[in-house]
């Protein structure tokens, strides 16, 4: 069975993190798994974690009273989910629900924030990694919004 540090090193999000830093963040991590249909987090609740997906698929959803959940994005193997732990007020804005049986590395955000505050170099590294993900998701959302598959005349 693989240890946490090895699992973290194999994940694309932290693959190039220096060994020392990996050991530091591993202290805030644990393995976790979710059955299909189970929530990883729900909107409005305390955002205390983020997740590296190892296997399975997670849907991000927006709830509206009296309506089916609006599923706007899925996140899969090798990706990261959750950044509300980084920013105040540390509340989830959306729901995350496992579509398949899913295994993750679950990080304690409060623990990691403390380590980043104590070591700004590590904090900057972590912030850059999340910024890259945010920029990519932002670009993806723009494409989704422009409805590229709409009809053209002919």
């Amino acid at each position: 069975m693989k240890g946490l540090k090895e699992v973290i090193s194999e994940h694309a999000f932290f693959a190039d993190l220096p060994d020392g830093d990996r050991a530091i963040i591993a202290g805030c991590a644990q393995m976790a798994s979710y059955k299909a249909g189970e929530f990883l987090f729900q909107s409005g609740r305390e955002a205390e974690h983020f997740f590296l997906l190892r296997h399975g698929k997670i849907a991000l959803e927006l709830q509206a009273p009296g309506q089916e959940p609006y599923r706007f994005e899925t996140v899969g193997e090798g990706e990261v989910i959750g950044w509300s732990w980084l920013f105040e007020p540390h509340k989830w804005q959306f729901d995350a629900r496992a579509i398949d049986d899913t295994s993750v590395v679950k990080f304690d955000g409060k623990c990691l924030r403390g380590k980043c505050d104590n070591d700004p170099r590590l904090g900057y590294d972590i912030m850059k990694r999340f910024a890259r993900v945010l920029v990519q998701r932002y670009a993806d959302t723009r494409l989704q919004l422009i409805d590229v598959y709409g009809k053209q005349g002919g």
């Binding site: 089916e68 599923r71 899925t74 899969g76 598959y149 005349g153």
Partner: protein, 270 residues
């Protein structure tokens, strides 16, 4: 070049606004070989003529298969054709996907919406010659699940060792595949970027971003092809309707290497 009469044998409803016509030769028309990516001019009598890509098996030239989206008067007339009715056919025209030249390489097929239709002949070719290629992955995106084409064939493609990865922009809660733009699928397909050849078809914006994403992952631009669509009339390079810069889409294309198109498709005036 005069159209020849072909007979509609089947009209298959794919989605709310897309049908597939299966045509057989009628009168003097004869079966014609075609290459993946080529197109015919289809003439709906009394309505007009439009370019439509082949969506059938290039290994079976006895029939023509065209998948048509109802986007205007001519395509609407074609979509209404019933078995036994006639359609005028000129072709085949244009360049083709060079899939036969990619032996030993990984194949990435990225399609958006109706763009899977011109790429299905590539899938058929791969199915007939599966041993010639290493990993093969189809990345397919559409607006919503009900707008996905050829879903009934996905399982058999998967059984032939083709990875079929599907995404939609909008999905109901019971959808278990991906949600998001097709570019996000690139990280879910398993292939070696350095030895991949990529074939892209869909809206130009989708192809631009997909080609850029593939390049950023290490796929050579020279090994990336896209299929262009413009207002074609004559299909033989005379009328100039489909001219894009120095290229005639009907004759020089519709399939181009990505470097030939990457600068042209971002020019506002074109």
């Amino acid at each position: 070049m005069l159209p020849e009469a072909w007979i509609v044998r089947e009209n298959l409803r794919e989605t709310e606004d897309v049908v597939t016509l299966v045509l057989e030769p009628g009168g003097s028309a004869a079966p014609t070989a075609f290459a993946p990516g080529q197109f015919n001019m289809l003439y709906a009598f009394g309505a007009g003529e439009v370019p439509i890509s082949m969506s059938g098996d290039p290994g079976d030239p006895t029939k023509l298969v065209h998948t048509i989206r109802d986007v205007g008067p001519v395509t609407a007339a074609l979509c209404r054709l019933q078995p036994g009715e006639l359609v005028g056919v000129r072709g085949p025209f244009g360049s083709h996907w060079p899939v036969a030249d990619q032996q030993g390489r990984d194949i990435v097929i990225a399609a958006g919406g109706i763009g899977l239709a011109p790429l299905r002949p590539v899938v058929h070719h791969v199915l007939r010659h599966r041993g010639d290629y290493d990993d093969v992955v189809l990345l397919y995106g559409a607006r919503r699940p009900s707008e996905l084409l050829f879903t009934g064939e996905f399982e058999s493609w998967r059984q032939s060792d083709i990875q079929v990865v599907v995404t939609v922009d909008h999905a109901p809660a019971d959808w278990t595949e991906h949600v998001g733009v097709v570019t996000t699928l690139i990280r879910h397909g398993k292939f070696e970027t350095e030895q991949a050849s990529a074939f892209l078809c869909g809206p130009e914006v989708m192809m631009r971003f997909t080609a850029a994403e593939l390049e950023s992952k290490g796929v050579s631009p020279d090994k990336t092809w896209i299929s262009m669509e413009r207002n074609m009339k004559c299909a033989v390079g005379f009328c100039g309707h489909c001219q894009l810069g120095t290229e005639f889409i009907c004759m020089d294309g519709p399939v181009f290497t990505w470097p030939r198109m990457r600068n042209l498709i971002t020019v506002r005036e074109l």
